[in-house]
């Protein structure tokens, strides 16, 4: 008997059918990977399984019993626990790891009113021992690395008896070494009989740990793959068409230098480095979270300062004090986390697709100050056809677009006016394979400027860049030209 059996599950949001008869089973002691493009129905399925949303129709059976949780607490009581992608929300600055581990327990009824530090430590240690993790109990939650936060979230989820663990993009912000550590732990948990539903876009992760891969498309399970997993076929099932090589050939990128950094130090205690970027070149900078990728880009964009060293743009000294100065000099930046750094909240002026694109260009496009003349509508229409943005039109609310299309809109914003150097910080966050291909093609089709991309995913870096640099401890080290990493070889075999 399978642990979990989902039969013909459906769920609609107004006219959109997010889930259309999804059917799948999961056995105890296996890791099942769930793949799917944005909007394929993965997150709706997870929300129904974890008790966040009810299903419209269909049945779920858990260990032979009908399972229809109305709240996340009910789901957890039945043995289904979920760790969501943004683990920075599971705790708060000022709480220790021990506090964070016990946070859900504090809110349960029947717990003692008074708590002592010693009892918190004892209970937290018991939770960690049960999961088999080693974490510093007294460390402040705010000081934890993303990987440790992930482990805290998993340990807390497993604190009570759990049969099924759902992980949503757990490695999105982890380095390779941290991911490996997580995989070892997940395999151990699996061998102990836990079923794990693992959602990810990263084929390298799935290759490493998945027993089976389920591919969702259009709200249903469109394909199932057993080991050895044929990822090319899985991805083709996922995007519904033949996989083209996302990397459109090696180009001649020996243009004149556009941007140079000399003896630059990001922090006063980091090693100095040089950087040269040529016209038409796409350079990727990879490194673990916190290695200084964003710091480097924001220094070039004038959002922070270099500790030492000089920058030159087209041979002229480049020392922007504000983003406005950098933009005027010809530098553009689409910063990390588009919701925080680029988009307006829903229902707010400027939250349409057209206004998202026009925000930095208002004074250039509307020199008289009045927003008449439809310039931003025309620019948005151009962007929609050029980048294949799926939207109902220039006035479509940006929140109604999928993650990949939102990212395309942010790219369109900075490509709407010519620039000398385009900086992209994690441009593929929450972007599915199809949209990623469009974005890479758009980035690589431009030869009039240089592009510098920061990404923590070596596979992405290899797909998009002519040259890959590695940043570590706030300093750059070069990687020999054209050496593909093992990860990407495997994926594109």
């Amino acid at each position: 008997m399978p642990l979990l059996h989902v039969d013909a599950l459906s769920r609609s949001f107004q006219s959109t059918r997010a889930l259309a008869g999804a059917t799948l089973t999961i056995d105890a002691g296996e890791i099942v990977a769930l793949m799917g493009a944005n909007g394929a129905g993965k997150s709706t399925l997870v929300k129904i399984l974890s008790g966040v949303l009810p299903a419209d129709s269909g049945t779920i059976t858990l260990s032979g019993q009908t399972y229809a949780p109305r709240t996340p607490a009910e789901a957890a009581a039945a043995g289904v626990v979920t760790v969501h992608q943004s683990t920075d929300l599971i705790g708060a600055a000022g709480l220790t790891v021990a506090d964070t581990l016990l946070l859900t327990r504090f809110s349960q009824r029947g717990q003692p009113f008074f708590v002592s530090r010693a009892s918190i430590r004892r209970q937290a240690q018991a939770i960690l021992d049960a999961a088999g993790f080693d974490l510093p109990l007294d460390r402040d939650f705010a000081d934890l690395t993303a990987a440790d936060r992930q482990l805290v979230a998993i340990a807390r989820a497993l604190a009570n008896r759990a049969d099924l663990l759902i992980l949503d993009e757990p490695t999105a912000s982890l380095s390779i070494a941290e991911s490996q550590r997580l995989f070892t732990i997940l395999k151990r948990l699996r061998d102990g009989g836990l079923a794990i539903l693992y959602i990810s876009h990263r084929t390298a992760d799935l290759e490493a740990i998945a027993n089976r891969v389920l591919v969702m498309r259009g709200g249903a399970v469109a394909g199932a793959f057993k080991r050895p997993i044929d990822f090319a076929a899985a991805i083709e099932t996922m995007i519904g068409r033949k996989l083209q090589s996302a990397r459109p050939g090696i180009r001649n990128t020996e243009g004149p230098p556009v941007f140079e950094m000399r003896d630059a130090q990001l922090r006063s205690d980091s090693a100095p480095f040089d950087l040269v970027v040529h016209t038409g070149e796409v350079v990727a900078i990879t490194g673990v979270l916190g290695a200084g990728k964003s710091r480097l880009l924001s220094a070039i964009f004038g959002a922070s300062r270099l500790a030492a060293g000089d920058m030159y743009l087209d041979g002229r000294l480049h020392r922007p004090k504000t983003p406005a100065e950098a933009i005027a000099a010809g530098v553009a930046m689409a910063a990390e986390d588009r919701h925080r750094s680029s988009l307006m909240p829903a229902n707010w002026p400027g939250s349409s697709l057209a206004a998202t694109i026009s925000l930095p260009h208002l004074s250039k496009w509307y020199p008289h100050g009045l927003l008449f003349g439809g310039r931003e509508r025309r620019e948005a229409e151009k962007a929609i056809s050029r980048l294949r943005i799926k939207a109902s039109g220039p006035q479509a609310p940006i929140a109604s677009l999928s993650g990949g299309n939102q990212q395309k809109a942010v790219l369109a914003r900075w490509e709407a006016e010519p620039s000398r150097l385009l900086l992209l910080d994690e441009p593929f966050q929450g972007v599915d394979v199809g949209a990623r291909y469009d974005i890479i093609k758009a980035i690589r089709s431009r030869s009039d400027r240089a592009t510098l991309i920061a990404t923590s995913d070596p596979e992405e870096a290899h797909e998009v860049a002519d040259r890959i640099l590695v940043i570590d401890h706030h300093s750059l080290a070069a990687v020999p030209h054209g050496t593909p990493s093992r990860l990407s070889e495997e994926t594109h075999a």
């Binding site: 949001f13 006219s15 944005n38 964009f301 009045l370």
Partner: protein
């Protein structure tokens, strides 16, 4: 998860069952009703009051309603601009009250005429706005705390020049001298003259402020950036705009409008009363918040603020005509505000 579109999959078949059609029709009706609710209620009030009390509907009474709400609407427009940049200006009531005192002091003690007094008082309001902006933008004092302290400071400051006395002709100054000036009759026209004998000057001022601020916030580049600052300050800065300058602009506009409101009050009352402007802050904030419900915008908007102020004015005027006691006024305002906010935040959530 509203209408996320699959990148490559063919469009999903849509169920066109009668159930869906009915529910979406009902949802559409619900949206329309919600966005028009304030207008529908306003029409109902006008109709109901006219039926119950025929004197309500005459032009003179309608103008007196507008005149009564003019100051609140002007201040509310300023509140709307500070809300748009994600701030809040608690000092507007105190700025208006000090402007009444400043205008009276300028004319009665210094003997200035209307031409000198009006720009002087407006400059005073703009200056207070600048100080607010300095505290908030430069010193990073949270907006509520900065403007709350400014409110206290101004309420105290306005008492000092006259040693706590109200200002009218023949005022005895702290040093024992008697003030020789008087209100300039031209200044009083701002509060008492009506164009063509029908439209009071204050209503004209309210209309001009409403139009100017509506165009500024909704139809200009600067307005877009003001809202962008309130919507996502990081994104606005990374797009190359100076959010410090935009916030400063918002507080200066708010301060200047508050002092314009003060000028209108001074011109109507004709003396510098120490207790003037007591409920102005609350009324202006309420108008701006009721404005969130107008046209279902769920955000600060100038048109909504003006409609909100007029709505409260109509309700109070009508109830007074129907002999509702004066002490029920605050209760009525509060009930309208609670209703409008419930409409804005509560009912709208289900379908979005």
């Amino acid at each position: 998860m509203t209408s996320i579109i699959d990148e490559t999959a063919p469009p999903l078949p849509r169920d066109a069952s009668p159930d869906d059609a009915t529910s979406s029709w009902l949802a559409d009706l619900g949206t329309t009703l919600r966005s028009g609710a304030v207008f529908i209620l306003l029409a109902a009030l006008l109709f109901g009051f006219s039926a119950a009390e025929p004197a309500f509907a005459n032009l003179g009474n309608l103008m007196s309603i507008l005149q009564a709400v003019a100051v609140v609407a002007i201040l509310g427009a300023g509140v709307t601009v500070t809300l748009a940049v994600g701030g809040f200006d608690l000092s507007i009531g105190a700025i208006a009250a000090s402007s009444v005192m400043a205008a009276s002091y300028a004319m009665i003690v210094w003997g200035l005429d209307a031409i000198a007094t009006v720009p002087l008082v407006l400059a005073f309001g703009a200056f207070i706005g600048l100080v607010n902006a300095f505290l908030i933008v430069r010193l990073k004092v949270p907006d509520l705390l900065a403007t709350l302290s400014m409110m206290f400071l101004l309420s105290g400051l306005q008492l000092i020049p006259t040693a706590g006395r109200s200002i009218s002709a023949g005022l005895i100054l702290p040093n024992g001298a008697t003030a020789t000036g008087a209100y300039d009759p031209a200044f009083l026209l701002i509060g008492r003259f009506s164009l063509f004998g029908v439209v009071p000057v204050s209503v004209v001022l309210m209309t001009l402020v409403a139009i100017a601020l509506f165009v500024l916030t909704e139809r200009t580049r600067v307005g877009r950036l003001l809202f962008a600052t309130g919507g996502n300050e990081v994104a606005t800065r990374l797009a190359g705009a100076s959010t410090a300058r935009l916030k400063t602009l918002a507080y200066v506009i708010s301060g200047t409008l508050a002092s314009l409101g003060g000028i209108v009050i001074a011109a109507r009352v004709g003396r510098g009363d120490v207790s003037s402007g007591g409920s102005l802050l609350m009324d202006a904030v309420a108008a701006a918040l009721i404005g969130f419900a107008v046209l279902g915008k769920r955000r600060p908007n100038v048109l909504g603020t003006i409609v909100g102020a007029v709505f409260v004015g109509v309700l109070l005027n009508g109830l007074t005509m129907l002999n509702a006691p004066y002490y029920t006024q605050d209760f009525v305002k509060g009930a309208v505000l609670v209703g409008a906010l419930a409409l804005t935040y509560g009912l709208g959530r289900g379908n979005s």
